[in-house]
């Protein structure tokens, strides 16, 4: 045990002290936050402006069509589809006379073709303008219409889940996001750290240091030391990422204007209601508050606890298999490809199931995939995000965890037996048939 500890230490420190580890660890969150910031920035500033001439001979929608910061509608008199470009317009929109019994199309002609998003937004605007116009024609007053719009605009679906006497706000979008993100994260890390274990074993074998070490420790100790050491590297990396992302986002929040920050704080205290007499909360403060509030509805201790469990369990399950493959490779790393295939296939397949499960957490395939240890780390995480016990019952979670524990004990045992033979065997091309023979032969 003492020697395994030495091996763990070496595997851990030789990787953590490596420059590549530091670069990867610190660059990744900066890259992610930077990417989000950049897309947000460009989606605000990098938009194209359209100056649209509207030909609306009946003045049907003139009063209802509203300008935005992207689109400017104007209603000139002497413009037609032949000369709108000379008059300085980018597009021309031709509105025929509408009546509610026949369907009539309106026509947009452009200098440059318009993006889908913009087209849809114009289409929505026109449709709502037409709707308003028709409602007004039917006798509804403009001020009544305005008040209806205002009342309906910020309403949204609030779902609650009932657990006995208490009921809790639930958010399917958030659950899907968390489930997908954690499933994806586990999938990626299985690959990264699994292949790291495999390469480490291959290095020891091709460097011929394995024999020196195995004359001091048992092969199983060497294998376990490597698996645990690299697993600890993975956990360290997660921890650093979490710390970095939290500090970066709170640093980013510090750049918000002071009055917005204060409004958010007030909203938090008053549980979303702006006290009467105080200043109105700005739109951005409400948005930030809503994001914070939505995030806080998730059961974070459960999700983080499950994530750590399934990361460790899934890692141990797959790393042992990767180690076994590494031990069978000779000089040629190409050999690893064909042997890796049976390991990477279930991983990829589990990922595909995970993407399905994030949308439908309670199908039979979701249930079985979250019990079978090949896929349970990813699939169960996707389901746990929907809540325990509302989406996943306690016994399901317990069963999934138990089969995963049994699963990694089995793969570790199996791989230990393959590893023991493979690590000292050179010059022999290994097939899966031979591996199975090694695994079940006597000591």
């Amino acid at each position: 045990m003492n020697k395994t500890w030495l091996i763990i230490q070496r595997e851990y420190s030789s990787r953590v002290k490596n420059k590549r580890f530091l670069i990867l660890t610190f660059l990744t969150p900066i890259l992610i936050v930077g990417l989000i910031a950049a897309t947000t920035y460009f989606s605000i500033t990098g938009v194209e402006h359209r100056n649209i001439a509207v030909i609306d001979p009946n003045n049907f929608i003139k009063n209802s069509l509203k300008n935005t910061n992207q689109i400017n509608f104007s209603f000139p008199n002497n413009v037609d589809s032949n000369n709108y470009q000379q008059k300085g317009f980018t597009d021309i929109l031709i509105i025929p006379k509408f009546d509610k019994d026949t369907k009539t199309d309106y026509i947009l002609r452009s200098k440059k073709s318009m993006g889908l998003m913009l087209q849809e937004s114009i289409s929505t605007k026109i449709n709502s303008a037409i709707e308003d116009q028709m409602l007004q024609d039917a006798g509804i007053q403009q001020d009544i219409l305005d008040s209806i719009h205002k009342a309906s605009q910020y309403s949204e679906l609030k779902a609650y889940e009932d657990k006995g006497s208490t009921s809790k706000e639930s958010n399917a979008g958030l659950a899907m996001g968390i489930g997908y993100a954690s499933g994806l994260l586990i999938y990626i890390t299985m690959f990264i750290y699994g292949t790291m274990v495999m390469r480490g074993v291959m290095e020891e074998k091709t460097n011929r240091i394995a024999e020196v070490i195995i004359s001091s420790v048992k092969p199983f100790e060497l294998m376990m030391g490597k698996i645990i050491g690299i697993g600890a590297v993975g956990l360290t990396q997660f921890l650093l990422w979490i710390i970095l992302i939290i500090s970066l986002t709170s640093a980013a929040a510090g750049f918000l204007p002071a009055d917005v920050q204060q409004q958010v704080a007030t909203l938090q205290q008053s549980n979303g209601q702006m006290a009467g007499g105080m200043m109105q909360a700005s739109e951005s403060a409400v948005k930030i508050y809503n994001i914070q509030h939505t995030i806080s509805t998730a059961n974070w201790p459960l999700i983080i606890g499950c994530f750590i469990f399934y990361f460790i369990g899934g890692y141990l399950f797959y790393a042992a298999l990767f180690a076994a493959v590494g031990s069978t490779v000779n000089e040629d790393p190409q050999d690893a490809q064909s042997l890796m295939f049976p390991i990477t296939m279930p991983l990829i397949f589990s990922y595909v199931i995970t993407t399905m499960v994030t949308q439908n957490p309670n199908t039979p395939i979701a249930f079985w995939a979250s019990i079978i240890p090949f896929s349970s780390p990813m699939v169960m995480m996707a389901r746990v995000a929907y809540g325990v016990p509302s989406a996943v019952s306690y016994w399901e979670l317990a069963l999934s965890m138990l089969t995963l524990i049994a699963g990694f004990i089995f793969t570790t045992w199996l791989s230990g037996r393959i590893y023991r033979t493979g690590i000292l065997l050179y010059g022999k091309k290994v097939t899966w048939k031979i591996l199975i023979k090694w695994a079940f032969k006597k000591a």
């Binding site: 030495l6 030789s14 024999e211 020196v212 001091s216």
Partner: protein
Amino acid sequence: MDALLRLQNLKKYYATQKAVDDISFDIERGSIFGLLGPNGAGKTTLLRMITGIFYPDSGAILLDGTPFNPMVDIEKIGYMPEERGMYKKMKIGEQALYLAQLKGMSKADATEKIKYWFKKFEMESWWNKKVEDLSKGMSQKLQFVITVLHEPKLIILDEPFSGLDPLNANLIKDEIYALAKKGSTIIFSTHRMEQVEEICDHIVLVNLGKKILDGTVANIKQQFKENIFSIETEAGVSLTESPAFSIVRKEASKTLVKINEGFRPNDLLQQLITQNTQVVGFNELLPSLNDIFIHLVEGTQANARAFQPIQE
């Protein structure tokens, strides 16, 4: 005899060959023992069983008179395998420390010992270098130091001189003598017969998984001698054959003769004296281990062995 290591009827069969087939021998405490054999004879398998890497299919290994227990006894052994390796990216000092600790040494102890050996072999400046910066000979020296660092009772060296220049080879050779003198027992495995002749007290020759020769170097040479003598005479004198001896080869002033069955060297000398031939030198030519090795192994299809199925 005070045996440090006793092998009793060791067997290890692989799927396609009998790697070690019923081998027994003793290794005396403090001796330098040569384990010889052609490629693929089963030497490495035998050594791996002694170092606890493999378990024998049957038979027993006794270390210090008690059955070998890898869990404990592994620390009494220092093994330098033929295929040597290091972590290329790891600093040399840290690497030596790590491997010494795996052999059960405390960190302080190991540091002290490494410093002692590094100083002795003028390797002090290597501590913060990486193995990938070393030449083959240099890493060989490092490997030797790592093998003997924990003062093992039993040191197993598989081809320790390959890749070393004569200067460094001598350095290691002197260390081997010194370690044996201090009481370590050394198993030395090689194909280089002249080194065996020079260094080893006792040898065992294995071929095709079986022991075919066991004894001290002097005894074995006696056993395989062909009664060939070299006679140095004054120039120009030629010997005439007689029933007592036949001439093998003639050089300027030397003649190699073989004394025939039933005669003794003195019969030859007697004849030379009666002929009044002036003898300047007279000595027996013992066969070299190289000759004995070739004589015993040649024609046994040792090299084709790997592809033959077991005949049970």
